[in-house]
Amino acid sequence: MIIGDFFKGLFLMIWRVATDQPNPKTDLLAVFPDWAQPVISAVLTVSPILVVFATLFALTTLLERKGLGRIQNRLGPNRVGPFGILQPVADGLKMLTKEDIVPRSADALVHFLAPVVLAVPTMLAFAVIPYGHNLVPVDMDAGILFFFAVGASTELAIFMAGWSSRNKYSLLGAMRAIAQMISYEIPLIISSVSVIMIAGSLSPVGIVEQQGRYMLGGLVPHWFVLTPWGLAGFLIFLIASLAESNRSPFDIPEAESELIAGHLTEYSGFKYALFFMAEYFGMFAVSGLAVTLFLGGWHAPFEFLEIVPSYIWFFAKLMALVCLFIWVRGTVPRLRVDQLLNFAWKFMLPLSLLNLVVAGVWRFTAVWDFPGAVLGRWILCAVLIGVPYVLLGRTLSGSKKVTQRIYRFAE
């Protein structure tokens, strides 16, 4: 009887998740005694997240290697399984069976803890992202704040890894990582503050709900990216999130041509795999937040497509962003440290602060009520963000004139 109820509850849960219905877990939880329900509920929430994102991680590594290969006119991995689709399995097995080497002079405890401390916050960040209409692991009022709080703690883990390895390359990489992540955390947060200002909410669920309207007969979604401040904020967020997830062109912490592998130098086997996984999980989390803040979360791009389950839209947007990241990685070479920091402090920070002002202007011009008000508002905001962009860009890139080099003493 209980077994029958269990399977009925399980089936109902899967059915309700698949069809976007609320409270998918209730029937399954009713099978269990009261004291066990919170634990079972948490397990039921957490395990799909881990499974889905671990699978996505495996898929993305393959996609990245294939995509980068094609960008460079190569084939990419094609040996394991048809078209190389089993390559992640082979990689995983290799990582698991490799020897775990700890340097003799390393601080063994911190060296061991660093990958764990890195993996935990990246997974915690998944907790507040709304994946679908009724698929929110933890519906927090200050979810965005929570996201940035746990996101910022990854820096500690990276520095732990760099410091405990007792290797100059590890330490250099870790110090670069700290400089980079702290610099880019600020534009990342400020660009999302503009969304928070407009939405008036720190809750990811609330922000997604505000983007659920459609204009012009259901053809234009009310996503924040489709406003002048939203587009600028999205681009700033995207660039800062590239830096936050240590991806090319901001991969200077593990610049393989300069620092071997930065803070990963002394890691091998599954600890290395954990770092690698945490990096990708961080990328998924920050892309998920970008989707939530700017790209309408789980809402469909057109009103008539709302019949498609909401989580499909969320993951489609997430994968689109991941593909964009891979595309950028295949295109842009790595920055120098000084270029990176100049870019963060002299360009990203002023522009993101300005974007706050533009978001405010957008908010208060909403009450304009005269013919052509919409167009005037658009132009005003676009100019407010576009002109400083051009001017700041000019100071950043045009400060040095490239001239013919003269060798005065070698002639």
Partner: protein, 206 residues
């Protein structure tokens, strides 16, 4: 404007990405074990021993003079000279190597053995699939594994092989012509009335 270059670069990489699917000419990858490109004419890695005809034991050009063994900088050649002699390509009796080993794990592919060989007996090969589970015995190539036919030489380095063949043929023709002249001189001497106490000329000493 800032960001223009990135857009241009992204367009270029996108063109590569799409192009690599639509235009197979773009893909330069040769999937090695299944498809192989023939080695370039000037490719060379390890030495091999040349033989004429079909029988490697009979036609081996090496006369075990051991010059290559002495010149080899990493000392990877080991030769044991035979006790008996066998005829070479012009029919002259010569020693032959009873043992001729090259340790290709030591060989540095310098080609000095090829350059010092006066008999055109050792040449450079293009065979590179030499991986072996036995790193000592498996990479110590003996006479049997080193001996390759002249046809094979023509196949891998045809220009060079043609030139070598022409030179050897010219040499052989010269020797034969000389032998013929000697024989004729001898016959003439035999036909002529027996001279009295003619000292043996340089010809008959040969």
């Amino acid at each position: 404007m800032l960001g223009e270059g990135i857009i241009k670069g992204m367009v270029e990489t996108a063109r590569n990405f799409v192009g690599s699917y639509s235009d197979p000419e773009r893909l330069v990858t040769v999937e090695f074990p299944e498809e192989k490109v023939p080695a370039k004419e000037n490719a060379r890695n390890f030495p091999f021993l040349l033989f004429d005809g079909d029988d490697a034991a009979k036609g081996l050009r090496c006369v075990a003079c051991q010059i290559c063994e002495k010149e080899c900088p990493p000392q990877c050649i080991y030769i044991v000279k035979s006790k008996d002699k066998k005829p070479d390509y012009v029919g002259k009796p010569q020693f032959y190597p009873a043992v001729f080993d090259i340790d290709v794990s030591v060989c540095m592919s310098c080609q000095i053995c090829v350059e010092v060989c006066p008999f055109e007996a050792i040449k450079m090969d293009t065979e590179f699939e030499l991986s072996n589970s036995d790193r000592f015995g498996g990479l110590l190539l003996d006479k049997g594994r080193l001996a390759k036919s002249n046809e094979y030489y023509h196949k891998i380095h045809s220009t060079e092989a043609t030139e070598v063949d022409a030179r050897l043929a010219a040499e052989k023709a010269k020797i034969e012509a000389k032998a013929k002249a000697d024989a004729e001189a001898k016959a003439a001497a035999a036909a002529a009335p027996k001279p009295t106490l003619k000292p043996p000329g340089p010809d008959s000493a040969k």
